[in-house]
């Protein structure tokens, strides 16, 4: 069985690469460290995360997501609540 955390990392990494159109991504980065992360990409990222993990982020979550670790914690929170 695949470790759920590793699985989350892999799926999230794929989303990040697709949304930001980058080849490498450090999962500890904040939005300030990814120049491609602009306001429109932020929107695309949220939609992609919701679709991939079948979760619905609250409005307030979307203003708290300023780094990849925070996205991971939000996804984990909603997956655990399922």
């Amino acid at each position: 069985m695949v470790d759920p955390k590793t699985d989350l990392d892999t799926r999230l990494e794929k989303i990040l690469k697709e949304v930001f159109q980058i080849e490498e991504v450090d999962l500890n980065f904040s939005m300030d460290e990814i120049p491609e992360w602009d306001s429109f990409k932020h929107y695309e990222l949220i939609v992609a995360v919701e679709n991939e993990f079948k979760i619905k982020l609250e409005d307030v979550d979307t203003i708290e997501i300023t780094s990849i670790p925070i996205i991971k914690s939000k996804i984990s929170k909603y997956l655990n609540e399922k």
């Binding site: 939005m31 300030d32 460290e33 120049p35 306001s39 929107y43 203003i63 300023t66």
Partner: protein, 528 residues
Amino acid sequence: MKSNYLIQEHQKISHQVKLDYNNVRDLLFKKAEENPNKKYLICPGEKHEEFTYSEFKTIVDQTSQFLIKSGLKKNDKISLIFHNSSEFLILYFAGLCCGLTIVPVNPEMSSREIKYIIEDSYSKTVFYSDTLESKINKIRDSLSNVKFKKTKSIKDLISLFDTRKKIEYNQISLHDIAVIIYTSGTAGNPKGVILSHLNLLSDAMGISEWFKFTKDSRCLCILPLFHNNGQITTLLAPLYAGASTIIIKGKISLYAFWFLVNEYQATWTSVMASILSMLLSLPNERKDNSLTAILCGGQILTRSVQEQFEKRFKVPIFEGYGLTETTSFSCINNYPAESRMVGSIGKPLQINEMSILNENSQEVEENIEGEICIRGYNVANGYLGDAKTNHAFRNGWFHSGDYGTRDKDGNFYFHGRKDSLIIKGGENVYPAELENVLYKHPDIDECAVIGIPDELLGEDICAFVKIKDKAQLTKNDLEKFCKNKIASYKQPKKIIIINNLVDLNEIPKGPTKKVLYRKLKEYYRNSF
């Protein structure tokens, strides 16, 4: 205004305007005295922070003590490299209160661009967000005379000294330099626009009075604070009225725009036209009843975007016009909404005068096109150390380089720019900035950069590149070459390799070998 102030010719106007404050510190402290318990700043997000006027003055006092104890003296320059955050706000006001000059730097710029600004402005200390460490590490060693202070939180910073004692502040005059804001330069390097306390206070007052801000106004700041628009319209203009500001990182503001307006009952905001286009393209709907007006400037607002936005979201948009050299706005469409002249950039704020001048600096008649020129209290002293570009400040006017007209009722209309400036999502980019980077590639024979239409951003960037004979270069190679050498928003969306075109052999040039940008734009329009 007292008559003994050192007003420059291009800052004089024919009528009297009374400013109630001597400098930005005086404004902040008087407002804190009048409304100690009123909320001034709300910074939502992961680290939610709120400051009443009194709380904000206290932390600004403490940070000012830290700055003075760090050895900084009046008129010293400090660079601030942050996205919108409480750290920026506190350092900004503390610096202004101490009589320091603030040099806000766009954190999206490349290390090379940041280094240029630090050196050009003679910044003594650079405060930067901890998330920018890797960028700063690339330049730290080459700037050995500059102190770098990584700033994760102001509390950590000020804990280094005892800042509880009462602070003795320096005297600050209206004409002391407050801020140097860098704007795109025709030759490739950005140029510093020198703004005084007079400039900041007068423009803040002009906007505050135009929109009739009161203590109950709540302004949403989504524009970056390292630019003049964010600083003046949504930070200092509300302060002038003792109002409140909600400040959010621009990158997260779009998705949450209507949520933020509703959650914090924002009454007013200032945006670029591209933000309105993006909001129109998203499914998110308005939920509030609080928002009464949106100020829009920095880009051409098309009639269709304005009509669609107002029809769908039922909030009036007020188009305005201004430049960094006029602190922020010089004119705004009439308020309230019923008196607007659609399609116009409005009438001058009371703190400045505007005119349409011909090539001989003579006023032209109504509805005749000429250069938009401005004079008044909000017009900058000039550019930092560049006599050539200071030519824009001449004959008692600031010559904007923009063309337009004025109608019989005194409404102004913007037509376009004289030069090849590209305005991408509100960010100014001169072709030379990217061309200088491209020319460093040994296989490039010649290149030219133009703005191309973009539905969301207004304009985007296109580079025409001619590759040397026998050289092998792809668009991908060039994209990789430009990466990290220039800010990401200045990267080309499109690269056209001329060698692959059948109807264009070289970059079109005039008799003096100057690139004919207009001709290249025409070619693009007809061929792509």
